[in-house]
Amino acid sequence: MTSNTNGYLSGSNLERVLKNGHFAVTAELGPPQSADGSVIRKKAALLKGCCDAANITDNQTAIVRMSSIGAGAILVQEGLEPVAQMTCRDRNRLAMQSDLLGAYALGVRNLLCLTGDHQSFGNHPDSKNVFDMDSIQMVQMVSNMRDKRVFQNGEEFKGQEPRFFVGAVESPFAHPVEFRPHRLAKKVKAGVNFIQTQIVYDIPAFKTFMEKVREMGLHKQTYILAGVSPLKSPGMAKYMKENVPGILIPDAILKRMEAAGSPWAGKSKDELTPEDKKARSEAWQAEGIKICIELIQQLRKIEGVAGVHIMAIEWEEAIRPIVEGAGLYPRPNVPMPEAKAA
């Protein structure tokens, strides 16, 4: 692998935090279904200082939103480091490379490569499918742009190559379960620098996954960040458990969420006043944040877990209390070293 003269692949804040042995924190920021940049600035203000970098999703669940790279450029302006996300669903290899060149020029330094939800899930199901490449091929392509200074077709760069810190996703509990550590190994083989996992609620199951990962030595070849997400309500928990593939939620956690709403359990739906609903919602959310903090504390103890990725879907306000509650605030400041003479 080539590196900048200052010893880093990309020099991004996330890379510096991880490389210097700190437990990393990344968060997620959902862009709006509009062209309003102020939404990004407001969310950036909530996340700044709470995380080492913030992911911006790419047309998540195939619903058209402001582009990850566009929003990422705004984050750069706001002083919050972005992790741009790119799926394989909407772009062929030309568009991917072209967008990445622009992203780098705009100051983006971290990239998460994903397969992407099929367009039939989203709000433009009639669209044509791209999937020119898959996420593993994308990891390889972006790594080669940085390390071998070549485009996907093998042509050499004549000017500045994009130097990204390259990430990918792994879903430890998706099927076939026994293949998942091997798929992670494949991504490591392709050159992935960091992994953000699908949301974890089941610590024992995740420990089993990490055991296999450690057996293969993968935790030493890539930084693994465990995904967490605060629950907002028992309904949200049930929905995720039943509808999102690869998410395991233990009954104990479901019960805790329900119990948090027990002061209002006696009332029927129609009897609940708006004040009741607000208070119950706040109680649920408080419990959800509490559970999230506990999960982070347990995840920190698992060997091979280099950080956490906090996904607070349309609830970016929850990030700060979670990071503070888990004892991860303030975030470390790892300055960029002086560039060494070539």
Binding site: R89, H118, F131, F179, Q198, G246
Partner: protein, 226 residues
Amino acid sequence: MIVAEQKSLEEIKELVGDANKVLVLGCGTCVTVCFAGGSREAAIVAAELRMASKLDASPKDVTDATVQRQCEWEYLDQAAEQVGNVDVVLSLGCGVGVQAIVERFPNAWVVPGLNTTFMGMPIEQGVWAERCAACGDCILGLTGGICPIARCSKSLLNGPCGGSIDGHCEINPEIACAWQLIYDRLKSKGKLEVLMDIQPPKNWRTSRDGGPRKIVREDLRLGKEE
């Protein structure tokens, strides 16, 4: 085989329009096997059109005929006279058949009665599923004989994605996850290590993405050498 299904009678009526003399032309090959456009189906569609047009108070003169294959000139020529006698040919052949009629009989006005859907096979009578995407560069040798281009919703070459649930694709529980099938098959053959090779991005030039395709076999052509 090519699998197709009939358009609705409503759509067929619209396509036939005001034409009075209609020939419903069936095809004896693929669309017979998938019960969309064979001789029986042609007779049924013709009866439907006659009855519907009578009820609409403008009865049409609808006949039906079937050739062995619409996509070969020698068979298509057998219907030449009938094609010449009508205002519109409602072809119950696949998209290839419809176009063949037009190429062979440029004076005819031809409309499609079917939606050609995919290349696949009958899993049981009455149920057909897609199997081949005609990518032009077959990789079945790498996946134990199960095609990820046609059968994976995302055409992944290094699957599965995170949406595989209990062997089904997340976009439709009635569709098997191709990569679960590939995984199980390679496991049963003791060849799982094949899955650890990173398949490079596909060269899509041989598929439809590269433009309409054509094959020329000089060894099979007939006629005197020029």
